[in-house]
């Protein structure tokens, strides 16, 4: 069983949703990102998604796009992403990589899977990859025991949801806003329907992403989903902090707040 599956099982046993926190590797710098992720886990995040910085992040809103741009400008490379995953995973945290597909295609799908597995990573979330275009990834991920997380959206018709959820392992990522990532003030109501539709096709946990920024919203989403994914709000806190230490404690505080919300949900 993957660390991600274990994390969902543990949360379900406690009768609550799992909290999943995102941050890009190398932002605001490599060491701070690692410390922040571990602090988030200590404060209640069950799973960490490490973003692999990419030059053309079309599925991300301006907050994450700017952070990723800074990580790249700082010289973040794929090796740094793997180091980051390794450091977080060895602290006992279930850790996935969220990545656009081209960097993986260039690294080599098999080689990346091997190296990710060897540092203790749990799998990949692939926002711009469809199951049809996944090539050898399903077979390779199975071989290395990695999870494959594809995204469904409110605009996905049922036949797409069936196809996508059947290609997933670990969990299904339900993108609740029709838009790109970016914290919104009210949780989009189409998320509820999307989770229901996904559940008609899969027994996997369904986690809702993009949109949550505070504990009230976390509680609301936790009321209908198996997992609550928070990215932009963490990245904004990291970016607003004036020191590395400040960034780590800001991430810790937000995680604690969200974790509380989830326990109310």
């Amino acid at each position: 069983m993957s660390a991600v599956t274990t994390a969902f099982t543990k949360a379900a046993a406690a009768d609550r949703a799992a909290l999943i926190g995102y941050l890009p590797a190398g932002f605001p710098d490599k060491a701070t990102a690692i410390k922040a992720a571990i602090a988030m886990a200590e404060a209640g995040a069950d799973i960490i998604e490490v973003g692999l910085p990419y030059s053309d992040p079309v599925m991300d809103g301006p907050v994450i796009a700017n952070a990723v741009h800074r990580a790249l400008t700082n010289g973040t490379r794929v090796a740094d992403v793997l180091d980051t995953v390794g450091a977080i995973a060895s602290a006992g945290v279930a850790t996935l990589v969220m990545t656009y597909w081209n960097p993986i295609a260039q690294y080599g799908v098999d080689a990346f899977a091997r190296d990710l597995a060897s540092v203790g990573g749990s799998g990949l979330i692939t926002p711009d990859l469809t199951p049809e275009e996944a090539g050898i990834w399903p077979e390779v991920s199975a071989r290395y025991g990695l999870d494959r997380v594809f995204l469904v959206a409110p605009s996905s018709p049922d036949h797409r949801i069936a196809r996508i959820t059947s290609a997933c392992s670990g969990f299904v990522y339900a993108a609740s806003l029709m838009g790109t990532t970016g914290a919104r003030s009210a949780v989009d109501s189409s998320a509820v329907g999307l989770v229901e539709r996904a559940r008609e096709h899969t027994g996997l946990p369904v986690a809702v992403g993009v949109g949550v920024s505070n504990s009230e919203q976390a509680a609301e989403v936790a009321g209908f989903a198996d997992g609550v994914i928070v990215g932009t709000a963490f990245v904004r806190r990291l970016g607003d902090a004036i020191s590395g230490e400040g960034a780590v404690s800001a991430a810790r505080d937000l995680a604690a707040d969200l974790a509380q919300g989830i326990r109310r949900g």
């Binding site: 990419y54 599925m59 490379r77 295609a105 260039q106 690294y107 959206a153 605009s155 029709m178 790109t180």
Partner: protein
């Protein structure tokens, strides 16, 4: 993405619908001014292209000043058919933005154009034109502030607004069905030119030359000639100023490698880790690190060849056409003009060369004045 499936379905139905094709044909003829002329460039051929016979396909004479209108009219009619009320576009040189703003004004649709900040500066005339036409122009300040970044922001807009919005991509790039659909809308260039050159020169050309940014004018003029295997298809990419140095070129097919960009599998200018490289070209419309997948296929199949034309060669082509023919070409098209100059010298005076003059150069007079110091 569901919007792509919807688009594919609607496009497939539309192209079989006689009412849709009749409406498009009518707009192309009575609004855009098709067929465009085929003009023999006698002095240019004799003095600047090794004596070869050069025929120019005059897309610069189409309404709005470039081939971009062909594709836009098709996509905007499709937008109406889908019941959508808002159109977004990316633009580099501003020609696609102007064409989109124009068609939206004509059909009463809301129009938003994303344009890299660098390009809003170097193509300022087109920014004014778009605004006069009622479009909102949003300068893009991320990344290299050029075409690729404008496309990123247009995609970001679209995923958030697909319900009422059509993303009118300006070249043969992006996810399926865009490369195929835009190719179909631009095919008319080659269909017309093939018949015109048979009528005027009595034979097929030895070569067809076009500039390649995303590749829409090139695929448009090439397509009808693909089965004519004796006709060489020559694409001219922007070599920039760099003699092959990364970041100083936009010669994607020449210097790139297979990858994924903007939802297409194609050649990409990228580093070893798959990060897209910054590009440079004096021409905003060719300053793009990807290329339509059909060109990658034509290159790999050996059916078309692609050469790199530097900034200074393009400017030489620009000046040559101005002074020998009284035609001011767009900087993009000037790459094809320069390509025809070297190809004419290679093939000699018996050669017959068709050059796609994709657009006119009014928008570029500031850049050219600075270059030539006039």
């Amino acid at each position: 993405m569901a919007a792509l499936e919807q688009l594919e379905k609607e496009y497939d139905a539309a192209r079989r619908d006689p009412e849709f094709t009749a409406e498009l044909d009518d707009l192309l003829k009575n609004y855009a001014g098709r067929p465009t002329l085929l003009t023999e460039a006698k002095r240019f051929g004799a003095h600047r292209a090794g004596g070869a016979r050069i025929m120019l396909k005059r897309e610069d004479l189409a309404h709005t000043g470039s081939h971009k209108i062909n594709n836009v009219l098709g996509q905007v009619l499709l937008t109406k058919r889908m019941g959508k009320t808002r159109v977004i576009a990316e633009t580099g040189a501003g020609q696609h933005g102007v064409a989109t703003a124009t068609a939206c004004a004509l059909l009463g649709l809301e129009c938003v154009v994303y344009m890299g900040e660098e390009d809003t500066r170097r193509q300022a005339l087109n920014v004014s034109r778009m605004r006069m036409l009622g479009a909102e122009v949003i300068p893009v300040t991320t990344g290299t502030r050029t075409l690729k970044d404008a496309m990123n922001d247009a995609f970001r807009d679209w995923v958030a607004t697909v319900g009422n919005t059509h993303y009118c991509i300006g070249s043969v790039g992006g996810p399926h069905p865009f490369p195929m659909m835009v190719r179909d809308f631009q095919r008319i260039i080659g269909v017309e030119a093939r018949q015109q050159i048979l009528d005027q020169a009595g034979r097929l050309p030895d070569a067809v030359v076009a500039c390649v940014g995303g590749g829409s004018n090139a695929i448009g003029v090439f397509h009808a000639f693909i089965p004519d295997t004796d006709v060489r298809l020559v694409g001219c990419e922007a070599g920039g100023d760099g003699g092959g140095r990364p970041y100083r070129t936009a010669a994607t097919l020449g210097l790139g490698s297979p990858g994924v960009l903007h939802g297409m599998r194609t050649y990409v200018l990228q580093d070893a880790e798959g990060q897209t490289l910054g590009t440079h070209s004096i021409s905003a419309g060719l300053d793009y690190p990807g290329v339509g997948p059909e060109h990658s296929w034509l290159k790999d199949a050996g059916r078309a060849t692609y050469r790199s034309v530097s900034d200074s060669e393009a400017m030489e082509g620009f000046s040559a056409l101005c002074t020998t023919e009284g035609i001011i070409p767009a900087l993009e098209s000037s790459h094809a003009v320069a390509g025809a100059m070297s190809l004419g010298r290679e093939l000699g005076p018996d050669a017959l060369i068709l050059v796609n003059l994709s657009g006119r150069g009014d928008k570029d007079v500031a850049t050219a004045s600075a270059w030539f110091g006039v």
